[in-house]
Symmetry: C2
Subunit: 375 residues, 2 copies
């Protein structure tokens, strides 16, 4: 069956690549996943791809991995599947994206009763330090429970501290929660969160782009953070030290055009240093309640049929025109600033930006969105 063959090809490539790869995404887009898998297997590839696939191209464990998924109640979700969150992945900007690190996953290994596209339809990431204060634990639980009880999925990274608190709070109100791991979904990390992850899977989902059995690495935590961001309408950092991984997740949110939010706290608490820094530098917007988080996250909808808008900016109409006009000639702005400046609601701004990017009018980097100077 061609479906099975395609799934086997995705499973094979996921194992070999162990993480995102823009050239492989391009190859799959160009020649299809089965032909891409064959080319990798037989090393019939340009030099750039040879280097990336050399070490693991012999690891054809695809059939075994998919069988393992069957046994543990998991599955490989690919762009072929209905539950693939297609419109979220548009935030990555397609194969031609300038930012080589900001790349869509090829496929996702998931485990649990939830449906990925449905769970991430209205979702907020709640993340933070592994060593929170009592205040941070309390605020994380409070906001996550409030979000979950209002029908928002709480996405997090299953780490100690704020992440675990957020998952537990969502479960405590029988809300939806998604745990995104930096390792294989059959080998949970941290180990002492194995039971928590079982509970997450009972109604929600445990998600990873790493093949079964893959152990965590520092790099994988960073790429995992980008998945947390892209699967959420907003990223909320509850507490973070100056060098917290949660700040990295917030950074991905900005790169992907999603709101980065942060909770304030005492100026004396080192656990709030990172949040204060982000708010101060305009990297995150201050929020104090779940309602404020929802105001920022809003309902995100992309007008797919607007992708082929004409090249001259004169041709821009409606929200896209207003958002483009609100961008300064020099420098960049966050979506929330553009919303204020343009008068377009935040949801409309976030819908307009990827379309403007696809049409070549705007770009984005760590500081926000900017006008393309070459127009």
């Amino acid at each position: 069956m061609s479906g099975d063959a395609r799934r086997l090809a995705y499973a094979y490539l996921s194992r070999v690549l162990q993480g995102p790869s823009a050239p492989v995404n391009e190859l799959v887009a160009a020649v299809g996943v089965e032909e891409a898998a064959r080319a990798v297997r037989e090393w019939d590839l340009p030099a750039a791809l040879q280097r990336r696939t050399e070490a693991r191209r012999h690891l054809d464990t695809a059939a075994h991995d998919l069988e393992l998924m069957d046994r543990i109640g998991g599955r490989l979700v690919t762009p072929d599947d209905e539950e693939w969150p297609t419109w979220r992945m548009l935030a990555f900007g397609g194969a031609e994206a300038k930012d080589r690190e900001c790349v869509a996953p090829l496929a996702l290994w998931v485990r649990g009763a939830g449906v990925l596209s449905e769970l991430t339809d209205r979702s907020v990431a709640v993340v933070g330090t592994r060593a929170p204060s009592n205040y941070g634990e309390y605020v994380a639980a409070d906001i996550a429970a409030d979000l979950a009880s209002r029908g928002w999925t709480v996405v997090s990274g299953a780490a100690f501290g704020i992440d675990g608190t957020a998952h537990r709070a969502a479960l405590s109100v029988e809300g939806a929660t998604v745990a995104v791991l930096a390792c294989g979904i059959d080998t949970p990390y941290p180990k002492s969160h194995a039971k928590l992850l079982e509970e997450v899977a009972r109604t929600g989902l445990v998600v990873s782009e790493y093949a079964p059995g893959t152990a965590v690495t520092r790099y994988q935590f960073l790429t995992r953070n980008r998945l947390v961001a892209v699967l959420s309408d907003a990223v909320l950092v509850v507490e973070a030290g100056r060098r917290s991984g949660a700040r990295n997740t917030a950074k991905w949110a900005r790169r992907l055009g999603r709101p980065a939010l942060a909770v304030p706290g005492s100026v004396h608490a080192t656990t709030s240093t990172g949040c204060h820094h982000m708010i101060r530098e305009g990297e995150a917007r201050l929020v104090t309640t779940a309602s404020e988080v929802i105001d920022e996250a809003g309902p995100l909808r992309l007008p797919i049929d607007a992708t082929d808008s004409p090249r001259p900016t004169d041709g821009l109409v409606g929200d896209q025109m207003l958002v483009y006009e609100a961008l300064p000639a020099i420098g960049s702005r966050a979506p929330s600033e553009l919303s204020e400046a343009s008068g377009v609601p935040i949801a409309g701004v976030r819908a307009a930006l990827p379309m403007l990017e696809l049409a070549g009018f705007v770009g984005s980097d760590e500081t926000g969105w900017y006008r393309r100077r070459d127009l």
Copy 2:
């Protein structure tokens, strides 16, 4: 002596006007202060000025008021005096300013050993709620003492709570502090702060635009707040409830092109609600330490000789061009945002904006600075 006659004219007008008046400022600019005083006294005036001066034009207590000043160690500081903070008053944008409330004082009644222009050369307003938390008291004292010990003057309103704490903290490190009152400087308010105000006057200054004996009114608190803002390089709100007067002071700061800053706190503390709201809405920038306050306040210097820049924006050069370019076509931005967007340091942005306003290229309102649409 003409100097005495002019001072008597200022004292007379100050008593009659009891607060700022754009038409009288215009009249003084047009015909001189002595002729303006004569015209008011003899009611030789256009209708607009008649209404404003009718009730008190008979109150010619100028000589008596100036004698009282001599007795209590006070004086009337006018634009004739060297200690008049001329360049600060430029922030009001001159007699033709659109914003009729945002008007320079005609003269200032002061008391104390300090020299007004020197004390306000490097100064930060530290303001906040009359009913702070322990946390707020501590942070206010900590930051005010730190600012004062680094040579910054702490400006505040001598109210209960944060204001009083800020003055005391500055005095405790033998630093400079200025108290701006909403009543006559001979009749301190609140009364129980009479001793504190004596101490402020010993090395610093007690300042008011209201003639001796004037009692406080709600309106005068608001106009006083604008003086606090204009006499400071930045306004720091330490704690504020949702409807705090400190938020009004921060608003004046924004109208005058000065940074509005706010200290974060617990999301559960009602004493921080106003600060969080201001930060969230982009009305104030989050700061946690005196160093961060100083970063924002910076050294403010206006390039006076740039006032008559040519009308077409093509003629703009340097920082003014960069700042103008950084303004969005629609909507407004705060100076700190313009600094980020333009790459011009915050001091340069604050120097450029009043010049751009005088040249008619930009305007400002509560939300920030905007491009004039009529260009």
